[in-house]
Symmetry: D2
Subunit: 361 residues, 4 copies
Amino acid sequence: MSFNTFGHMFRVTTFGESHGVAIGCVVDGCPPLIPLTEADIQGDLDRRRPGQSRFTTQRQEADQVKILSGVMAHPQSGAQVTTGTPIALMIENTDQRSKDYSDIKDKYRPGHADFTYEAKYGIRDYRGGGRSSARETASRVAAGAVARKVIPGVTVRAALVQMGPHKIDRGNWDWAEIGNNPFFCPDKDKAAFFADYLDDIRKEGSSIGAVIEVVAEGVPAGLGAPIYGKLDSDIAAALMSINAVKGVEIGDGFATAELTGEQNADEMRASNQGPLFLSNHAGGILGGISTGQPIVARFAVKPTSSILTPRKTIDRSGTDTEILTKGRHDPCVGIRAVPVAEAMIACVLADHWLRHRGQVG
Amino acid sequence: MSFNTFGHMFRVTTFGESHGVAIGCVVDGCPPLIPLTEADIQGDLDRRRPGQSRFTTQRQEADQVKILSGVMAHPQSGAQVTTGTPIALMIENTDQRSKDYSDIKDKYRPGHADFTYEAKYGIRDYRGGGRSSARETASRVAAGAVARKVIPGVTVRAALVQMGPHKIDRGNWDWAEIGNNPFFCPDKDKAAFFADYLDDIRKEGSSIGAVIEVVAEGVPAGLGAPIYGKLDSDIAAALMSINAVKGVEIGDGFATAELTGEQNADEMRASNQGPLFLSNHAGGILGGISTGQPIVARFAVKPTSSILTPRKTIDRSGTDTEILTKGRHDPCVGIRAVPVAEAMIACVLADHWLRHRGQVG
Amino acid sequence: MSFNTFGHMFRVTTFGESHGVAIGCVVDGCPPLIPLTEADIQGDLDRRRPGQSRFTTQRQEADQVKILSGVMAHPQSGAQVTTGTPIALMIENTDQRSKDYSDIKDKYRPGHADFTYEAKYGIRDYRGGGRSSARETASRVAAGAVARKVIPGVTVRAALVQMGPHKIDRGNWDWAEIGNNPFFCPDKDKAAFFADYLDDIRKEGSSIGAVIEVVAEGVPAGLGAPIYGKLDSDIAAALMSINAVKGVEIGDGFATAELTGEQNADEMRASNQGPLFLSNHAGGILGGISTGQPIVARFAVKPTSSILTPRKTIDRSGTDTEILTKGRHDPCVGIRAVPVAEAMIACVLADHWLRHRGQVG
Amino acid sequence: MSFNTFGHMFRVTTFGESHGVAIGCVVDGCPPLIPLTEADIQGDLDRRRPGQSRFTTQRQEADQVKILSGVMAHPQSGAQVTTGTPIALMIENTDQRSKDYSDIKDKYRPGHADFTYEAKYGIRDYRGGGRSSARETASRVAAGAVARKVIPGVTVRAALVQMGPHKIDRGNWDWAEIGNNPFFCPDKDKAAFFADYLDDIRKEGSSIGAVIEVVAEGVPAGLGAPIYGKLDSDIAAALMSINAVKGVEIGDGFATAELTGEQNADEMRASNQGPLFLSNHAGGILGGISTGQPIVARFAVKPTSSILTPRKTIDRSGTDTEILTKGRHDPCVGIRAVPVAEAMIACVLADHWLRHRGQVG
């Protein structure tokens, strides 16, 4: 797996730039006979799709997914199912606005991949960020929709739990609220606050960071493997691979640095007395292997680097200049990372499910 | 890839349990003609070796590395060099004290991998934690010593920057202090404080968490690759794979959630005026690719789960019981993670260096 | 790695069935700044395309390739070049004749993948063979066209050297003849003979096997790696992965079983006296690594299993029955394997070129 | 994946040179709870061990295997079993005769890897061939002994079926004879003939090629996967990776080039009437997936390149010279390839068994 593939048994290879013909992915290793239609995938894509509120980029993409291969009508039941062969998914790029990119074509946006892509490849797709565009994440969401169907009984949900310095009140956590506000925020009151807060940021042409929490419930004990096949190691890689993510933690995460062994121990009791564990500091993973408790991960998303305030930079010739980025950008790109994170975790779990079944039976 | 191998071009496969015959690793893909002796590796191993102060486990292991393959005396110069073939490194287990493990043989230590290994494999090596033992990390340190020699001009160093709630004073940072205290702490004053602080914890039979920071200097711009071959994604996986690590961050990490786009932008200026970048919030990585600035990562290590205070648990039959772990344990296992982290980052960089050279030339 | 991807640094993932929406592939790891247009790929696809003579299936497919990603107009030169990001190639299926498949839907064709796909997946795409259709090889040819551009100065050509029991006369070998007959045959006289020979087979509704030889010239010494990264091992895997291939040999191949060490030795002499080697029994590979001589491989293609003569078989319920396959089939499927083999070898060489450059520089 | 690892789920990484400290391998991904002792492995190693007759190299190695990790006494039964963690196997080199290598140190043996290793790495281990030594195959045999225990009910056996131009009489095939002669030959009469034939070759200081056949019985239908995960593709890679192998075929192999579709079809009949298939031209694999019939593969081994007759070559400076190789060499290295081939096929089958169980359940 170098480069653009992730997973070992449930393998996803993504392709595509924001301003190419299409983006998409190939899902390889999916078990056969799983019911799968474009509608199953479209639902998740619609949740990620920008332009649905004033708080995400106004770029309008239909994000209509097409299944190119790997499914057929079951010869007996007639229902469309997977065949065990690679599932190619394609999303055509439709809103490639013939915008004038001359402003940024030869300048590097601070905090963006412009400089590093050019340093590596000697060329970069300046139109919308090319491969580094958040648009690429649509492919992951499509793959994640397939992954969700692989392990029976697992639910993967994510929520925005912090925007700028403002954290939600965990006592107000209500998963049902996620769909009621444009922030995927489980705290109704904080969501109302975020609306005003982000409006101000948006109007200033600025941007702000965020923290997202992902929770996977129903994961059986035993997924993962020691050392470099650790479930948390793969989760860390998966979340850190999302655009603009700068930190990942599992369970109590960085807070465990302040805990004693007594505080951090998730004590156990006989399962006929209720849950097997009395706490979940571990976030559902011990020694790289799932415990059967909910898997809990959090990650930090930095603020969008495309802002209206001019910043010092250089151009391709190395000369000092300034840059400001007009256009359709996300004031808080963390918002759209919510369904992407769900998809990544679903892919990791599907992969580990198949790997576990392979090794242990 | 899966399980016990990491890296793609510079590939390390580790093996071994704390109470088996030996631990070790196979380093595959190392370029030829690099001078390499056992002494080159032994130095790093000695830094990780436990039993050197009262603040680490009193288990005494010589940790003497043996090179089994992959090197020979150069036919002309006579110096021992790599040949391009796999380098197998072995460290024999010498201090397998024939301890009485009956206390923990059938009980799960809360916060430990005991329960999950058994849930996965139907068997676990209760003697010293088996594969989940911190002893496994000696193999990584050995591999890291090889990795350090692969990229010319790169220095990878790590330091303990927090123990429990106590953070170092960054104004006091002095790399030279790292070797002067048993905590790899760059702040001389705080190191003195940690000595008293950890003594108390040790005497109580308790344990405490920590935060470690790794810095890689001299990394050229251009290492890494988009999406799932991101340098930060691989760093996150590498650090999260270390025993007891619960969080990883790059550059400003979780703090970026509170920043605006203006604050987070690492502005640039013409390189003849000094450094190319005016700040390094990004921690040396943008879009998954190195910028040429120092790469900065931090990670949190939870407190050792083996403590003297009894904790509620169950035994293999599912019956309620209590457990306390006597024996030679680390009051702050984060300390020994410092050279391990250096090794992991060195391996990731060596791998990406070879991958980059392969794709781009 | 597993399933539908081949290559490590130059990685190709193919997808698609004969009767799905489209087939195609994702080429990952291609170096940047290589000129690449759809026309570059179309030429190779046209050579493989069926329906060009009466000696291949009459299925008519435009086989028009579309580049979905990974290229852009160079900002300075304007020429379309690779960017270093994944290149997705798609070929839409246009001739999915709404044929009546009821004859074979529930029966297994002897010698075909019908039975094994169903044994593995519990479902099979009976329409045209699904994933096992020779149509999948168009994706490989497309990938191969990209691979050809990766190593400078390498030429990969293949030729049909045997049909049924009839071998070409090697004294008549003329690469220029390859394009002059529908068999990719380098022996003009034998090509004329094959036309009559295959006409008879075709009219009888029968089929016949063939042997193909691939030659790669201009490959530098040093590509490959010991043991499981051997160049010949990867060539064997690549050729054996082509539909209907049952044998692969390198250099003198099976004939070396009859040679003595004296006969088999490729003697060497100082290169200023002419070629470095006096013979090429080894087919350009020693110890898994290229010698700098032409790489020569041959492979046997079994006769198409779809024939007009009824054969005993069973149906899905396990009941005895007979089957004969009407429709548009290849009397000698080996013919179309010629450009496919070139593509596979080009991919293997590109991969090893990048791997070698990565490890050794 | 690359270099020195083979397999995806059942992964074997080998290391070691003929004149280093030790050779060995790490077997990763082996299921837990499989009984495994050193004696289980030693039996296979003893079959491969040289010096047991005058027909193999007189190099004397104890080839004593040591299990370094991955097993423990089962806490309840006491039997030594696998734990699911990596199994490291080591065989120390004991007969590193301090021979004078000055004759070949600076010359390239024709037909040997000397030239290519030096071309690739700029260095080669001239002592006994280093990594290219047949000694490396002991590691594979050790890994194969583990693999044999992974799939229940599968038997993998190999036999020498041709030496020089002399083929066995298939009517005389008796597996029981394999152990009764030093050639692993199933034809008693031909074995007697080979003894005289090879004595002559040995006395002349010459060498001769051979063909080996491997048969795996009891393999269930369904192992393998389309396209690049084909079972026959992996078998071809595995066999071609053995030293000196120049050709591989499955089932009827190259002979299928001469067959018509009618002849090549393996007809089927209802299984209550006897075997499901009426013939096995396919060698147990169709479309890359096992049929449930015996898997049959053959491969050609070239004659040893180390011979007593002087051959023209060059030295490291490129000057013309001659070389002849004294020492302990195999007159027919194909003989020792017999247990190696069994081991490789066992590894491939174990890997595909785990992969299949992972994807399909």
